[in-house]
Symmetry: C2
Subunit: 279 residues, 2 copies
């Protein structure tokens, strides 16, 4: 069902990279899984990390510094790719905000994107079946987090599946992709001109439309170059306040949008999820 690209022992566990033929995306998909070996073989709770624009599974695997904490807490970390890829998969190679590396964790309905760009279903159904089948995973205990576009994915998917995820956090998430310049183009291409359909993949809109989740933890760097233009965490703050969703929004002084920021707070996020996964 899956092919092993590589495995390496790290922080007492195994960091693997795998590929499988994805039915949902209709192409081969690569993903990374860290399996801890700290408490006798599992099954381990599963924490999903969704990455941001331009990333593959590899960025957070190499720069995210998640293995020590995952090993200590006995948690599997799953890092999917951010889009379908391959010779048959439509792309706009010159544009980092649409196509390859920019799946936005939604199911495209429009040509030429619809056949492959189904990252919502991929993360919600296709890849979980693989994880359940191939890894010592306790699928009754799942949580989700992510960065930027992946923070959007984590928040939106948690709001739509509060029963699947015990907890949700994000680093510098895109909380209102339907209003932000860097996502509107992709949303229009993937979902068409009827903006009402976009709301199913927009955290602020989902909350406005009645979706709820038990609480969110968000870290946001104050020196993030995308803060004012694309991220606007105050929109999430307003939406959560209006809906009574507890939000811990931590503005981190001087931090930017990079993995130097993510890695700094990674262990705290994992500890926060671990409490909720095991509580």
């Amino acid at each position: 069902m899956i092919e092993t690209v590589s495995t390496a022992r790290s922080h007492g566990g195994v960091q693997g990279v795998y590929t499988h033929a994805s039915k949902t995306c209709q192409c081969g998909m690569t993903f990374a899984v860290f399996t801890p070996e700290t408490n006798g073989g599992g099954p381990y709770p599963v924490l999903w990390f969704l990455s941001g624009l331009t990333c593959t599974h590899a960025n957070v695997m190499e720069k995210g510094e998640y293995r020590k904490a995952a090993s200590e807490h006995g948690i599997i970390i799953v890092c999917p790719d951010t889009s379908p890829r391959g010779a048959d998969v439509h792309d706009v190679p010159d544009d980092w905000q649409i196509g390859g590396g920019a799946g936005f964790y939604l199911d495209a309905t429009e040509a030429p994107w619809a056949p492959h760009y189904a990252m919502a279903s991929y993360v919600m159904r296709d890849l979980p079946a693989v994880i359940q089948s191939e890894f010592p995973a306790d699928m009754e205990r799942q949580s989700i987090f992510g960065h930027s576009m992946g923070g959007h994915g984590a928040l939106a998917l948690a709001l739509k599946s509060p029963d699947r995820f015990k907890s949700c956090s994000a680093f510098a998430p895109i909380v209102s992709p339907t209003s932000a310049e860097w996502s509107r183009k992709a949303f229009a291409a993937y979902l068409g001109g009827n903006e009402a359909a976009w709301r199913a993949y927009d955290t602020v809109a989902l909350i406005e439309d009645g979706k709820r989740f038990r609480e969110f933890l968000v870290d946001q760097g104050s020196a993030d170059g995308f803060l004012e233009s694309g991220l606007k965490p105050w929109l999430l703050e307003e939406a959560c306040a209006g809906a009574g969703i507890p939000l811990t929004l931590r503005m981190q002084e001087g931090y930017d949008h990079s993995y130097f920021f993510i890695s700094t707070f990674m262990a705290e996020h994992i500890a926060w999820h671990a409490e909720r996964l095991k509580g």
Copy 2:
């Protein structure tokens, strides 16, 4: 004196990348410095990390997971490049064991390498002057460590400068580059056919020739693909035993040669150096 390529806040400190015009290497050189800001502004002790074949300053900066420990212990980490680079610098682009990315921390004497390949002097004199001048560094407290070719560099430079370095450790070091296949070619090219001259850059030979250091810590993965062919830590064990140099050689079960291995033991090495830098 230096130009800042980038800085990012990380783990409470600043991860920077800088360039300077190196007199020793006669070309522009790039290096990374992590400056902690944990105890009021320094001066901080300095821990040098020398990287392995094919690496630049960036590999350990991105994958080494050193910032948390460096921040906690209040230590500056300096990561030099592994060779001179540039349009004027001789290279053999198809061969990863010589030229760019393969400086071997020695001063070449032979054409066409001699004008630029002077990484021993670069790490011992040129770059330290920059660090002293531009960073809040306490140059009276320096230690050194490295990986593979950089482990060779760390061990050999420590043996030749026991007064400069308080401590020295290595991950999977090349302990006998004059006998290992993957280094003999470069040594012959850089230093010429007289193998007696090579001994000044070979850890085992330096010890045989009377150089001493107070102790070494070495981690070596048992699943390292280069263990038998290029690393041979037992040669270091024999040399240290013969010379009465305390060596802690830890065979790490199942670990390979990658940064997944290095990052696992990075915090332990930094804590070990911190004790000796502050003792």
